[in-house]
Symmetry: C2
């Protein structure tokens, strides 16, 4: 079954009209999707998108249109080959390689191909992935630039060792779900009363971890963190997220001031490109929390590709790998990142939120638990209660846990009426 047409669109939600999603670097995001539909010859569709925060979504759409000729006429039977074809075109490669706009667009198309493949097979993507043999999983990966840290043979070995427990772990997920944490109380624009109320609600809803945005104003951060800690008590984990606001010395200094409130991790303390900088921050904070415990270092939502993740792990620069469904080239490259994290024994806690990211990444974390890491220890998926009602198969989080989806595909099909209402710039939502 071949792809006969590729349809792109620019969809934007005017979220900047509220302060939802505001942080130290992104004061006014309009959550957006450069959306793509792959049409197969039998009429089946595969849906995918890349997430952006507004301006420039049209550039991602132009990148989707540029990549379309590479997939028209192609089948999705061999998704490893499909992914490598998209990221190895010699002329497009100049524009990265494997980063920025072209890579965001590749993510959308690769994810759409997985949606198409899983839809055709009548299973959710997590289940399709979990049904693959170790060799088939390894064949999905583009191994270029990875073999100094992990070889395909080592990966097969690692997957084979974990394989026996797959069925029991699926059963566990069906019963208990996968732990989630919530960022909803933590946006910078919220007044204290709202922070306190949302913290209380998060605990009541079963979340065992929340996240606060920091980095704009230190005194404000101290006040909000103290309030949140007082509200949730000592047993709920509180992570903080600086969204790349600091230089390395500033990160160490600022976090030393927040340390008394027992931060679980500091997320994106500095540039996502700065492997050595994350290493220096991690080292400096290795006994900064109460009781001489470490403040963990987390990053990933802006980490450009598997080569940078490889180095973050090789350098011992991170405690938490926060892969993103649409930043790297889709499912395939995220499988590489899951394998690298498993090799180095570092937990993966995906970035989500935005629009549709919760829907996508849950499949990757389910697969990680079932077939790659085999562990839930210190694993948790971000959850933000935004914009889920625009999808046909929205993520379901109850009692602080993501529930296994059963619908075929990747849970990432936006409702036709939402795509039309929020089309930019001519949809009804943008005409007012």
């Amino acid at each position: 079954m071949r792809i006969v047409a590729v349809e792109s669109s620019d969809i934007r939600f005017p979220t900047s009209r509220e302060l939802d999603g505001s942080d130290a670097m992104n004061p006014d995001p309009d959550y957006s999707a450069a959306y793509v539909v792959l049409h197969a010859e039998d009429g089946t569709e595969g849906h995918g998108f890349t997430f952006t925060i507004g301006r420039g979504n049209e550039v991602c759409r132009a990148a989707l249109d540029a990549l379309a000729p590479l997939v028209i006429g192609k089948s999705v039977a061999d998704l490893g080959e499909f992914g490598r074809r998209l990221t190895h075109d010699s002329q497009f490669r100049w524009l990265g390689p494997e980063k920025g706009v072209m890579h965001l667009a590749a993510a959308a198309i690769v994810n759409a191909a997985w949606d198409l493949h899983a839809t055709t097979r009548g299973v959710p993507v997590w289940e399709l992935l979990a049904s693959l043999s170790p060799g088939e999983i390894v064949d999905l990966v583009d191994w270029r630039y990875l073999t100094d840290a992990l070889t395909p043979a080592e990966a097969v070995e690692l997957l084979t060792a974990v394989a026996p427990g797959r069925a029991a772990r699926i059963e566990h997920l069906r019963e208990s779900g996968y732990p989630a944490y919530t960022t909803s109380p933590g946006w910078l624009g919220y007044p204290d009363e709202k922070v306190e109320r949302l913290c209380r609600e998060a605990v009541a809803d079963g979340f065992r971890m929340i996240k606060l945005k920091v980095g704009a104003d230190r005194a404000d951060d101290v006040r909000r963190f103290a309030l949140a800690r007082q509200t949730v008590g000592p047993d709920i984990r509180i992570a903080v997220d600086a969204n790349q606001r600091w230089d390395v010395p500033d990160a160490i200094d600022w976090m030393t001031h927040l340390a008394p409130f027992d931060p679980w991790w500091i997320e994106e303390p500095t540039s996502p490109d700065d492997v050595l900088g994350h290493g220096a921050i991690r080292q400096a904070l290795s006994s900064a929390a109460p009781g001489g415990r470490a403040i963990r270092v987390a990053t990933g939502e802006h980490v450009a590709n598997r080569v940078v993740f490889k180095q973050l792990l090789q350098a011992g620069a991170v405690d938490v790998v926060q892969l993103d469904a649409c930043r790297v080239a889709g499912v395939n490259e995220n499988v590489a990142i899951l394998l690298l994290a498993a090799k180095f024994g570092v937990p993966v806690c995906p970035h989500a939120g935005g629009v549709g990211l919760c829907e996508l990444v849950q499949h990757l974390s389910f697969f990680d638990y079932i077939a790659v890491s085999g562990s839930l220890e210190d694993r948790t998926i971000e959850y933000v209660d935004h914009l889920h009602d625009h999808f046909t198969d929205p993520a379901v989080v109850t009692n602080g846990a993501y529930r296994l989806p059963t619908a075929p595909g990747f849970s990432a099909r936006m409702l036709p009426e939402s795509r039309s209402h929020y089309a930019f710039p001519h949809g009804a939502a943008w005409r007012t």
Copy 2:
């Protein structure tokens, strides 16, 4: 004087019809420019472009159009502020940050602003830069993410120490030019007879260094390198360039086989994102050349931004910094890279070739010698004898050296008839 309009175009030269420019990763480049003209209110123009190798040039053009609203109505009087405004827009930043298509487009616009500013002042860009005080130079830089390696105060100190010799060094450049090396003999597609002839011609033309492309076929590389060494003798430096073809272990192995022919440097042995990988390769090759000398490690044409260059220097991973005029955000970010290289004592040997890159980077190297590093030791600018006749003020290389341009601006204005003939896809060159 304010910018009142931004005009973009997609210009491509069908260079893939010959084998000029073919290497191990780029078998069929069509040298291209996403071209931008800034129109000032008094009718003055500033020209700039980003270089690509064909497909995707239209995506860079879309990025130029997306960035245009950020500069319309703005003045180029404060170019530091101008550059930071372009790369810090909170919504566009999501698409990088500071990498890939959006950064290539920012390069074009920043460089065009320098062309506009220098044209207005009636001086070449190198001379405008060399006339700035240490404080003014430091103000051009976006210091975010650099201060763990270099602070503005240190940079002022470094520039102040070098300032006294500026006039004498300008005089030296006027008389002797700036050393160039040539890649013209080294493309992979050429038959042996052509390689040998071009090597002989390079030496006769006064070049003291040539570069060969490697990485596609080892036996072929050994044969061509032996031929080149035999042709030019032991005193001409021969660098080799793998264009990111290898994983780390492959790079070390392959270069061990080429070592007997005394390579001056190995360029782009692996992924440009792999700081630690370059460090491992450099370490492994530190005594691999004849006489126990090091094979130097060089990279830069695909290094995404100043943060990655910072780490390459901090980690001792490179011997040669190969900045590119259009990969990072133009003159301003390249000033940051020159300052970092000077701090770490590593020579800058810019990437050039393509279309228009020789024209642009010469200004940066002249400025480096005059005001930043103050040295020509082991410095050389790449030269490729391609497509210069399409510019109004083409780079002049005689007796193996770049000559100081005297025309106002950045030497990067493409002739109107070339822009029209090679316009993609409707120019005459593409209609055949």
